[in-house]
Amino acid sequence: MDEALRLDANWVDYLLVALYFAFVLGIGLAARRQVSTSLDFFLSGRSLPAWVTGLAFVSANLGAVEIVGMSANGANYGIATMHYFWVGAVPAMLFLAIVMMPFYYGSKVRSVPEFMRRRFGTGAHLVNAISFAVAQLLIAGINLFLLATVVEVLLGWSLIVSLVVAALVVLTYTALGGLSAAIYNEVLQFFVIVAALLPLTLVGLHKVGGWDGLTAAVSDSPGGAEQLSSWPGTALTGFDSPVLSVIGIVLGLGFVLSFGYWTTNFVEVQRAMAADSMASAQSTPVIGAFPKMFVPFIVVIPGMIAAVLVQEIATEKAAGGEPAYNDSILYLIRDLLPNGMLGVAIAGLLASFMAGMAANISAFNTVFSYDLWQQYVKKDEPDEYYTRVGRLATVGATVIAIGTAGIASSYSNIMDYLQTLFGFFNAPLFATFILGMFWKRMTATAGWVGLVAGTASAIGIWVLSGDVLGVVPLAGQGAAFVAAGVAFAVDIVVSVAVSMVTRPREYAELKGLVWSETPRETFRDENAEVLPWFRQPTKLAGIALVMVIALNLLFL
């Protein structure tokens, strides 16, 4: 990134950004009044309506990595990027809602690692809680770093000032209002992000000559017409064979990676746990799935527009070089938006990056306070004590995130590696959870041994791949798909094998944790009979499924 990206923000733009910050802090203050117990602070007292938790569910994931990364993929690979949303995210979100959420919400656990502890005891719990907490600190740092670079590049503030100001804002509202403040702000941020990106997309389409103009321009560009269809996506996976590429996308991205991410990641699941009833908890990911299917239209499409419209990217791409795809959306904002709309766009980007970081931090402080501090350090303190621990953990996490952001600024490759690495925890976690929920015979030892074996095998494949040593001829996304797939398979095989030779728990203890041992009423909403159809998660999920299949067919 360089001087060429500096935007001519004037006082109107600054006013719009300042207004946004004022509202964010205002919500933090308002949410504080609702906090009287630790459950209020960490899980919003399980009191939020489904549309709020559903939008927060999407927003928590609509951070820097999503907006910058997916628009970059759009510029680089074109329509194939849609797979991340329509094959990846949405089916996994629906699966979480229908199959797994009843266990999480019905068992009244306060976090995903806590479910792990109730099902498999402390071995698997410690592995899960610690790796999750560390990963959140790291990802919060990356979000913060990207946030600060955008401020630095666009507005010309120094990196360190940007870092500290952004961190202080996030800290203030999450420490004041806990999860409620984070969730309410995520809902606000969702609308600000849409207000920024939707006009940008429409103006871009207008400039490039409508949808037809875009398809014509993309067909003439180096990627060619292939970039206008989603399958087989060989450029994306890096596989030469179209058949393998399709299998890689469906099983690797669609099944293992996405199911792993969406169903076990506490950052997401926490939003649903804050809902006010079983039906709302189940509806959370389903309601989130609707905006999620349309997010690529305002993220991937602008990336594609930038690839044909923005001088710096189009010429470099035509010359066969490596353009700065990550800056696609920033270039587009610079080229298309007048003052005024520019301010909304900057507010939207800041909103996105802050939402990501606040989500990481609010999930971190819950796991730190309930799963690590209360479980292993100080067990029987009064409730207010844990709220205080949570607030202090928030401060600590923010300070550490500033530190990791500092590391990210000097060693960007290390951060990429670590992030890939943490991605590998999800696939085996998903295998362990799903086996543990439906197979009562699975033992506690199998829980942690399977996790460790699965994660180790993923790391093994990745080290052998083109990204590091180059022994196995795979690179980029393809390597990640294969690594995740192997991790999933190894976890299942090892878990089954270990379960056969170790002693299972008393089946009576597994009530609420394993399907066959749980009375069906636990999983049903108490008002299930009287809910209108749009409050019934299964019906909504059916509609979402039909829509996402239609979208897939439309861009075949």
């Binding site: 509202f23 009044r33 609702q34 606000l188 103006v203 400039k207 298309l336 007048p338 909304v344």
Partner: protein, 89 residues
């Protein structure tokens, strides 16, 4: 969080906190500011950037319409807070 109970009206509004009002207010303000910019601060250069499209005008109108609809929803279906066990009113 000590003597909140001495001012019952304040507690009641706090409980009835509705994020929809915040969203409608911010997006509405954005709409108004963009419309003002569209009428008083748009140069030929700005228009040329987007091939003659007055971006601030259309976005401003869109945001304002959204804000009004959202506020209407909040007013037609206000938040009903179920009384908590520790509530005295």
């Amino acid at each position: 969080m000590s003597d909140k109970k001495t001012t019952p009206p304040a507690t009641k509004t706090a409980r009835a906190f509705d994020v929809r009002t915040f969203i409608a207010a911010l997006i509405g303000l954005y709409g108004v500011i963009l419309l003002l910019t569209a009428f008083f601060g748009t140069s030929e250069e700005d228009l040329a950037k987007a091939d003659g499209l007055n971006v601030n005008l259309w976005t401003g109108l869109g945001l304002l319409a959204f804000a009004i609809a959202f506020q209407a929803w909040a007013m037609l279906r206000p938040v009903r807070v179920p009384p908590r066990p520790d509530d005295d009113g």
